[in-house]
Amino acid sequence: MSIGHTLLGLLESGPRHGYDLKRAFDEKFGHDRPLHYGQVYSTMSRLLKNGLVVVDGIEAGDGPERKRYAITEAGVTDVERWLATPEKPEPYLQSTLYTKLVLALLTHRDAADILDTQRAEHLRNMRVLTDRKRKGDLADQLICDHALFHLEADLRWLELTAARLDRLREAVTR
């Protein structure tokens, strides 16, 4: 997730102080990992440098959290572009698992075991998410559902691959 774009987006509804931005971020998006103040300031100074925000006021006292930021027109355009650009589907898991499987087959290890172990791990993860979804609010539910559907897709691939393991073994060890 792009923290910069998210903070920018939060500024669209009006100028905010650094601490206020962090609080809003944590409340809405920081479910498992709240932002560090350091992340907020490094991000804001980058946005400042790129002309996407300006400092709109400074409260009495010291510390960077007292700066109040406002989004610029360029900032709004940037948020818009980010929202309009689709995310890259991540094929990372399949490629790692595929490598493991092929290696297992080449070395005459139990490849089905690798799939079953992964499958069990996926389901364990899905249980945790399902439980969190049950106890959570709507935001939790949507976030967990997204993760659940992805894990489910992985699981389907694991099942399909398990059913095709003999063919894969043949192809790999030929």
Binding site: D116, A120, H122, L123, R127, F149, L151, E152, L155
Partner: protein, 229 residues
């Protein structure tokens, strides 16, 4: 072999063939009181056959099944059906409600068959329908409610006798994901609060995620996934 300590139902070495087809080939199973166990696996792997054996609907060719310390496979048919009526509940994918009866009459039916008076049976039925959020459908017939609503009525009917063990074979198989998940949420909540164990056959991972653990059936053999992680 003896059943795992503390188990409510345990099966060992189950074999079942239908003509040339081997449906179960040495399957194992156990479930503890109040536990929700998912039975997963590809189509035709033997999940439903396993469930039918465990529930005493189908007799395996060999192997043992103990329920609460009693051997199921050597019981008489009458004993087995008495056990099914008093201790077990069932939810299937389709067509379990009697179309001529209203929903509340359907839910009350197992109690009526056990000899409970009509008024009392319907009062208990309504309480379960409330839990499953379908009490407003009490006077409708199954043909007048949606698939998801009908499935909740079926869950209420399965739980109305306070069974210790609920058998569910693809209970959400005919529902979309939103309705399916709501049914799973209500089913597992209700089962947990009644301390009923659930044998949940499903091929959907998101449904299985409502369980406490899962076994996978492949070619009539079962694998306990708990032992892997």
């Amino acid at each position: 072999m003896t059943a795992p300590p503390g188990s409510l139902l345990a099966a060992h070495g189950l074999r079942k063939t239908y003509g040339p087809t081997t449906a179960l080939d040495g399957a194992e199973f156990s479930i503890h009181p109040g536990e929700v166990v998912a039975v997963m696996g590809p189509s035709g792997s033997g999940k439903s056959t396993l469930l039918h054996c465990l529930a005493g609907i189908v007799t395996p060719d060999s192997g043992s099944i103990t329920y609460d310390g009693r051997e199921l496979t050597t019981m008489s048919d009458a004993e087995r059906s008495a056990l099914r009526r008093s201790e077990f509940g069932f939810v299937f994918q389709f067509g379990q409600l009697v179309p001529e009866l209203t929903c509340v009459e359907n839910v009350a039916l197992p109690l009526r068959l056990n000899g409970t008076a009509r008024k009392e049976a319907e009062r208990a039925a309504l309480a379960w329908m409330e839990r499953l959020e379908v009490d407003d459908l009490a006077r409708k017939r199954p043909g007048e409610v949606s698939g998801g609503q009908g499935q909740r009525v079926a869950v209420a009917r399965a739980l109305v006798t306070n069974p210790r063990l609920l058998f569910a074979d693809e209970p959400t198989g005919a529902l979309d994901s939103l309705n399916g998940e709501r049914v799973m949420e209500l089913l597992t909540d209700a089962a947990r609060s009644a301390n009923a164990a659930v044998v949940l056959v499903t091929h959907e991972a998101r449904v299985a995620a409502y369980s406490d653990r899962e076994i996978v059936v492949r070619d009539g053999k079962s694998r306990d996934m708990e032992r892997l992680v």
